[in-house]
Symmetry: C2
Subunit: 404 residues, 2 copies
């Protein structure tokens, strides 16, 4: 049941857990697509990668040197050099012959070992072996590293650069991966600055976050010209997720929930979380629509907690917050309201975490100054100094680079 909060205020708010459950229920994995292996780093395989052949496919030199028959080197020594004629490595090995091979080359038929350069003296057309070499030394046997049909890479983690190399090493050039969810961003409510020039922090911030979480940008538009026009932009086909940013509060111009109710359904509007309390979620047809607050701090928090989770789910990723976790102790009192989940930016000093700003007064700048944040659950009034707390740590490696 949609309830218009404009110029009234929120009545009941949904709990954080209710909203997360809604998100997990309505984020089904997207379709799969076939892409070039070289572009697959960071993507998730649609099916496990199975070795298409043994590795190596045939017995192969594991080092540079001379391929020989090991039994023919028995008794070799610096006082008993044994001569081997040099021959072409592509032909089968003749008796008492040696073939110059580089690591990675197939052994000539009949060879079972590789004499390293320091165990032989080379002349023009033959070599003198001065140390015996055991069978199999310097050789990678057929299937030694991988047997055909071995499961090499599972679907449970993003492909690493090394996986891309491994897949390529089999001559495979394309892979099936989970398709990136197509995300539409509509920045509906840029507040005007003193100079009446719209300055938007949210659009530039949301794009790299969406890419980090495995989504791609379907469309990105600014501004709104009334409820009907916004409803039209929300409901146009082509996106897997729609994010509307701004106009979610209780002000007279906070029309985003009304537009979503016009285009489809508002499932939840108003969440017991701070910052981010005016967030809403709903649908148009099968497409989930998220209404994020226009204030940059609120938008930032609501994206990470709700929209990001939806996109991480849809791209096959771990839905958890994509930040490193660190155990610390509250360095000062953390104040929070019972009944509201509070996200508190913190600064770390040694093993202690300090809140930035007074209770509830953190602003967008505090995110830039923060080393990370803690979440105070709705059941708690905050934390006394010395209480163990879990810090989600911001840092440079968490966020993929913008490719727009």
């Amino acid at each position: 049941m949609f309830c218009d909060v404009r110029e009234r205020g929120f009545g009941d708010r949904a709990s954080m857990d209710e909203v997360l459950a809604w998100i997990d229920r309505y984020s089904r994995i997207s379709e799969t697509e076939c892409i070039a292996v070289e572009q697959a780093t960071g993507r998730f395989l649609a099916e496990s990668f199975i070795a298409p052949s043994d590795v190596p496919r045939v017995d192969t030199a594991a080092r540079d040197g001379y391929a020989v028959r090991s039994c023919e080197t028995v008794g070799a020594g610096s006082y008993n050099p044994l001569p081997f004629s040099l021959q072409n490595p592509r032909n089968a090995l003749r008796p008492f012959s040696a073939a110059l091979v580089a690591a990675g080359m197939p052994l000539p038929l009949g060879a079972d070992t590789v004499v390293p350069f320091d165990s032989a003296n080379a002349e023009e057309k033959f070599i003198n072996v001065i140390l015996p070499v055991a069978q199999g030394e310097g050789v990678n046997r057929t299937g030694q590293n991988v047997q055909q049909e071995d499961v090499l890479i599972s679907t449970s983690r993003p492909l690493r650069a090394s996986d891309v190399g491994l897949i390529s090493s089999f001559g495979v050039t394309e892979v099936w991966v989970v398709r990136r969810p197509r995300v539409r961003i509509i920045v509906a409510g840029s507040k005007c600055s003193v100079e009446r020039k719209a300055i938007d922090a949210n659009g530039p911030m949301l794009v790299p976050k969406i890419l980090r979480d495995g989504g791609m940008i379907e469309a990105f538009t600014y501004g709104m010209d009334g409820v009907a026009e916004l409803a039209g932009r929300i409901s146009r086909p082509g996106a897997d997720v729609v994010i509307v940013c701004g106009r979610t509060g209780t002000g007279p111009d906070d029309d985003a929930p009304v537009a979503l109710a016009t285009a489809g359904n508002v499932s939840i509007h108003g969440i017991a979380v701070h910052p981010g309390g005016s967030t809403g979620v709903g649908f148009v047809g099968q497409v989930p629509v998220l209404l994020l607050p226009g204030d940059p701090l609120e938008c930032f928090c609501a994206y990470d907690l709700f929209a990001g989770r939806l996109i991480r789910n849809l791209s096959g990723r771990n839905p958890a917050l994509p930040y490193k976790i660190l155990q610390a102790k509250a360095g000062r009192k953390f104040v929070s309201s019972v009944g509201t989940t509070e996200l508190c930016p913190v600064r770390l000093a040694g093993e202690e975490a300090f809140p930035l700003g007074a209770a509830g007064s953190a602003d967008f700048v505090s995110i830039a100054r923060a080393d990370g944040f803690i979440l105070v659950p709705e059941t708690m009034e905050g934390y006394a100094p010395g209480t163990p707390v879990t810090v989600h740590k911001y840092d440079g490696f968490d966020e993929a680079e913008s490719v727009l």
Copy 2:
């Protein structure tokens, strides 16, 4: 002094520390460049970002509601509603008047507080205030969050999505950042497969690693047609770093060091590290050139340890290995040779790390199966079971997505 190792073998090898010192000595920060803020996530600022103005610039509504003079609400109650005429929020506030404001809007001149919707009853042209509101409530004061000239973002970490939002919120659209080093990749030595079709694992693997470390691809070419042609490709201007991949060993076709000696200088060839022992480093003019082994496991390790460090330095990043660190215990004996730094892929089970494969026999597939790796320093013969070890952990968030 360049020493040709083809068909002879390496004499002395340089220690890992010598090579790291060489890399740090010759990796100077690149120039800076001016880019659009929206594309700056993950980049490093050339200079700290200084607040160009106060935030907020003027007293601003911190919540939706009615801007009034607080002194005029004294005595208001549900049994003593005080009427205020509604007026345009752009005009200075008249006595006993109220202006509808949304969070983020400048307060009308004269207003010093915002009455929330639940503390007033709205009629058509006026409101009845039913609760007194203290001065400054619901108001963000000029400069409350940021004072002009405050240092907001330092040069010591990559820009986060939130920083991009924060910079944009000041109306700033471009920033000066450290230029990405332009990296030339020359895959000189693809080993031939059984079918004689060149299959390369290294090129597809190196590209996302270089992007992860902040570099960009200047050019990427395959194959080589002799020493002179490779020397020409190495010395062509336009790159900040040249990586040659393959043909670094002791085989008869291992011409990469000879080509570098022809084009410029070989500073080091042969490093006491395993895998990656045939790595070389040198220069052409001012441009550092790295020769990485062609075997994919050796290439992978040599990239991370040496080439990646150079690129991370040049892009302004932390030169350390870009993997999360975890303390574990050796679950089994780790075998290593004194005098050689050994990189051992490991699997984690609880708090224990297990080597993958027997000593020195790890292959490229073990990287796909590994949770991470440990480095056994050259002074150690390995680790007994139960010894504390530091694991560098591979995982999905370590590597940026390929944008090629």
